[in-house]
């Protein structure tokens, strides 16, 4: 029998970006807020000493701050005809563990999706006709527009201190910024990072080709900054230990630098770490959440009562918690009915390596979101008519790191080990750079999440099963993008280039990206979405679900900027809900 704990106004599952933001905004209204976090407490001062934080073996190889498969894993298959097997070592994506979540270990690339991305289905059909839509797709418009989200993108950027150069302020195109971006209210809070040699070559080559390069918006910030919560950040030192690491310099936007210092001062806030939420509990009629059940560090099962339950775990685990709690009808691809697990999507990566005979790129002087990007081939910024695919990619020249253990690119044909390999590593380290395309992934009938029929976790709960593969539309798009990257690499003066096409079938083994989206998507129709436009559950109105699980499909960008914007958008709705509880959109 679970130990029953006194009711709180708000129960939050997961203390990463979304959990910490909503916790702070609600606690400072005076509400009693408790956050339950599966992993340990982590803060900059206690956990990330400048002398030990850049430890590649500990963090990048041994995954110190990541989820252990024994805590939770997934089963995986490429299509419904296969039998899924458990992931025993995280590979293609790395879920975080502990306070800060993915916001602790990310690179900091902080994008706004483009206005067309939010109505991609309508837009593509209007411009190209229904014939352009890929086979088996379940692409759907977002239930919110870019203009509605703009103030919330702005809020997140201000809290995170993002460095960048605006391309469009209130409709006026700004030199040096991204001319394709949606109109912004104002400039970024801090100016762009300094770029390296590769980025200067890229900028010149792309400009000469008639493209529109601009500095990538960055959560490794360029200047001292104090955010609206009073939290202070320091300029990035370009140490190149961002992705998979905590930042000891207070330079990476994260819950640790941007929110937690203010949050922990709120007297009505409590964080309980090493507490794994196993279920959101529902009233007898299933129409209201009564709180959550969790298992604490000692293994004791507790029931935390609460008026409002905010599900703020990583996208995949949000979906699993809904499935385990019976919130929303599980998706069944055979019938096309049900919603939870529907429209799981991911991200494509393709591009071209550029080898130079005489160059010094100094890849170690880097930052996770350093780089120059261009959006000429993203979303519908170019004519899709001749190409026959939907979607696009942001194309970037970047060095995120030149770390000693794992960064050793070599030219094609180099042996995988031995003295020839060593010589190639030494000869190549300073003379290679990469032009990459990070592309959208649309949603499809057969890419989805459900509970595995066979495999269970240590608490006896079914693992979640991921059924996913890159579809022909994504392959066509990503491989076309790789050729665009190669064109630019050649124009930069590369003596030779190597194309990186999209790897198919999708493999869970090599690291690709932790941009897992969808499965609990927001929408206008309860038959095709789990959440209404305010991230409120259609079925259980005192449950809100934050994060990239709400994306109806993924765009050609990193998700965090949009996750942040949706969080503030939803918060505004939660403030209304608190005054008048109930469904914010009639079913």
């Amino acid at each position: 029998m679970a130990r029953r704990l006194p009711r709180r106004d708000v129960v939050i599952v997961g203390l990463g970006w979304t959990g910490s933001i909503v916790a702070y905004e609600l606690a400072r209204l005076g509400l009693d807020v408790v956050a339950l976090e599966r992993g340990p407490w982590r803060d900059t001062a206690s956990d990330f000493n400048i002398g030990t934080a850049p430890d590649e073996l500990r963090y990048a190889v041994r995954h110190d701050i990541f989820l252990r498969p024994k805590q939770e894993t997934l089963t995986m298959r490429n299509n419904p005809s296969q039998t899924a097997l458990p992931i025993r070592k995280w590979g293609s994506f790395l879920p975080g563990n502990g306070v800060g979540g993915a916001g602790l270990h990310w690179n900091g690339q902080t994008w706004r999706f483009l206005p067309d991305d939010f109505r991609i289905r309508s837009h593509m059909i209007e411009r190209y006709g229904a014939g352009i839509m890929p086979e088996g797709n379940q692409i759907q418009d977002w239930p919110v527009s870019y203009d509605e989200l703009e103030p919330h993108y702005d809020r997140f950027e201000q809290v995170a201190g993002i460095s960048g150069k605006a391309g469009n302020i209130k409709g006026k195109i700004q030199p040096g910024g991204n001319p394709f971006e949606g109109a912004r209210a104002r400039e970024y809070p801090t100016p762009p990072l300094k770029q390296g040699y590769a980025q200067s070559l890229f900028t010149k080559a792309a400009t000469d080709m008639g493209l529109h390069p601009f500095p990538r918006p960055s959560g490794n910030i360029s200047a001292a900054y104090t955010n609206p919560y009073g939290c202070s950040m320091a300029p990035c030192t370009y140490c190149g230990f961002c992705e998979w690491f905590g930042c000891a310099n207070y330079s990476k936007s994260s819950p640790q630098t941007c929110v937690l210092p203010a949050l922990v001062r709120e007297p009505s806030f409590e964080a309980r770490t090493d507490c794994e939420v196993t279920k959101v509990n529902l009233s007898a009629d299933g129409k209201m959440a009564t709180g959550v059940t969790y298992v604490d560090a000692s293994g004791e099962e507790c029931e935390q009562l609460g008026d409002l339950v905010l599900v703020c775990a990583f996208s995949l685990f949000n979906v699993r918690l809904l499935l385990l709690s019976g919130i929303g009808k599980p998706y069944d691809p055979a019938t096309g009915e049900g919603v939870v697990g529907r429209n799981y999507a991911y991200q494509t990566g393709s591009g071209a390596s550029a080898f130079f005979e005489d160059a010094k790129f100094n890849p170690f002087a880097a930052a996770g979101s350093l780089g120059v990007a261009l959006d000429d081939y993203n979303s519908d910024n170019f004519d899709h008519g001749p190409h026959g695919f939907v979607g696009g990619a942001s194309i970037t020249s970047a060095h995120t790191n030149g770390r000693p253990i794992r960064y050793h690119p070599v030219p094609p044909g180099t042996p995988a080990w031995g003295s020839a390999w060593k010589k190639a590593v030494k000869d190549t380290y300073q003379r290679v750079t990469y032009v990459g395309a990070q592309g959208s992934v649309m949603s499809y009938r057969n890419n989805y999440l459900d509970l595995d029929p066979t495999y269970k976790d240590p608490l006896g709960r079914p693992l979640m099963r991921m059924t996913f593969d890159y579809q022909p539309n994504e392959q066509k798009m990503a491989n076309w993008m790789a050729e665009r990257c190669q064109e630019i690499a050649k124009a930069m003066g590369a003596n030779s280039t190597r194309l990186s096409r999209l790897g198919v079938p999708w493999s869970v083994v090599p690291y690709q990206t932790t941009h897992n989206t969808g499965g609990a998507v927001m929408g206008s129709d309860p038959n095709t979405s789990v959440l209404n436009r305010y991230l409120q559950s259609w079925d259980v109105p005192n449950v809100f679900v934050m994060g990239a699980s709400a994306f109806p499909q993924n765009a050609g960008y990193n998700p965090t900027g949009t996750v942040g914007a949706l969080t503030y958008w939803s918060l505004e709705a939660i403030f209304r809900y608190l005054k008048s509880p109930g469904a914010l959109v009639p079913r």
Binding site: I50, G51, A224, S232, N249, P261
Partner: protein, 415 residues
């Protein structure tokens, strides 16, 4: 719960305490209690009278003195282990004369030589406030000093030599604001208890008032108006900002001052902080003689510079300018060039954190680097910081660092 119900709940909680407290605290002296709370905050009583992770005011913190450890007592209104049985007169006598109700002597680790200046009305308000706190049963060993210091009667002689009892006397030649600042700083605030050097008997040296001292291996810097090592470059507003938010353009509060800011000054009214600032700015300047900087070509400076560039410059910046609100500026820093380099050595070896306040909640950390810097490396980098970018102060030797490290880490010297 409605606001009314909340207020009722508080009233119900308070009533039995007023009942138990007797004459001093009745339900009609809310104003006194609120004032007493503000004064208790100004005196930062909680800092010494609370053990790590203990109940506030329930005592049990070991105060390190040159004569041994003294355990701060429980000052909640518990009848057997706290001061529940004390009258307002008993309380005033302890504060003004350093004597217990039975007449025995308190040690001046309890800074009654400062508290003696506090007016009786203020003492009664503090007393009234303390009696509203939840009584906590927590017995504290009050006799931890070794012989001969455990003989409390010795304090009679000490008092005869070093203690002048008597309330604060305003200086009619000064402004009311200055006098308010003096009353707070010299009395309840007991600034001098840390910032004034001790003599061999552990008494504050009045001839060196506020010229700096060493507390728990930290330097409590000179806070006279001296432009080099004191507050001379700070404006009144700079001092107020520092006390209110824990930082200003010159410095970030860390070490014991972090606790003072967090528990006390950040919660004080700005008018009182301004009064203290006016007092500190106007009462004068005093310091030890100026040093001449070591030449950059000095081998110790060169060794120190190499370490600084490798280990320190990422945050404190190559030119010692630091980063606003996070990483203290070292160029021109008064803390860096105090005669006593204890803070620099300590913070490099053991690390530290800056104060967290509502204004600046981040509380940035200086990581401990003692695990990877030898004594001679610490000495070199401290010497470099003390003699670069316009700074000038005596060099620091390996032996000084070695002795200091032993005290900081608790390891025996020579290990």
């Amino acid at each position: 719960m409605s606001g009314m119900a909340l207020r009722l709940r508080h009233l119900i909680l308070l009533l039995p305490l007023f009942g138990a407290g007797g004459a001093a605290a009745g339900p009609d002296n809310y104003v006194d209690i609120a004032r007493g709370k503000a004064l208790t905050i100004a005196g930062d009583c909680v800092a010494c009278h609370t053990a790590p992770r203990g109940q506030p005011f329930a005592g049990g913190l070991a105060l390190q003195t040159p004569f041994g450890e003294i355990m701060a007592p429980n000052i909640t209104a518990d009848n057997t282990t706290g001061i529940g049985s004390w009258s307002a007169d008993d309380f005033a006598r302890a504060m003004q004369e350093g004597r217990r109700p039975d007449g025995s002597h308190l040690y001046p680790a309890f800074p009654y030589p400062y508290y003696t200046k506090v007016e009786r009305g203020d003492l009664d308000a503090i007393y009234a406030y303390l009696r509203t706190l939840q009584p906590v049963e927590n017995r504290v060993d009050r006799d931890t000093l070794p012989f001969p210091f455990n003989v409390r009667l010795l304090m009679k002689g000490w008092n005869a030599l070093f203690f002048t009892s008597g309330a604060f006397k305003p200086d009619p030649a000064r402004s009311a604001e200055f006098n308010r600042g003096a009353y707070l700083a010299e009395g309840l605030g007991h600034c001098g208890a840390c910032h004034t050097p001790f003599n061999a008997f552990g008494a504050s040296r009045n001839d060196k008032y506020l010229e700096g001292n060493q507390i728990d291996n930290w330097t409590a810097p000179n806070i006279t108006d001296d432009p080099r090592v004191g507050l001379g470059k700070w404006s009144v507003e700079d001092i107020v900002q520092y006390l209110k938010t824990g930082q200003n353009g010159f410095s970030l509060a860390s070490g014991p001052m972090k606790d003072v800011v967090e528990n006390s000054t950040s919660k004080m009214p700005t008018s009182d902080l301004k009064a203290i600032a006016v007092y500190l700015k106007q009462r004068g300047a005093a310091s030890a003689p100026t040093s001449t900087p070591l030449a950059a070509a000095n081998p110790r400076m060169q060794a120190g510079e190499a370490i600084y560039v490798d280990t320190c410059a990422a945050c404190h910046v190559r030119n010692g300018e630091g980063v606003a609100h996070l990483f203290p500026k070292l160029a021109g820093s008064a803390v860096a060039i105090q005669q006593d380099p204890a803070t620099l050595i300590r913070i490099i070896i053991a690390g530290g954190r800056a104060a967290a306040t509502d204004g600046f909640p981040t509380s940035p950390a200086m990581p401990s680097l003692g695990y990877r810097l030898t004594d001679s490396q610490v000495a070199a980098v401290v010497t470099y910081v003390r003699n670069s970018w316009g700074n000038a102060a005596a060099p620091v030797t390996e032996e000084t660092v070695k002795a200091r490290r032993a005290r900081i880490t608790g390891a025996a010297a020579g290990d």
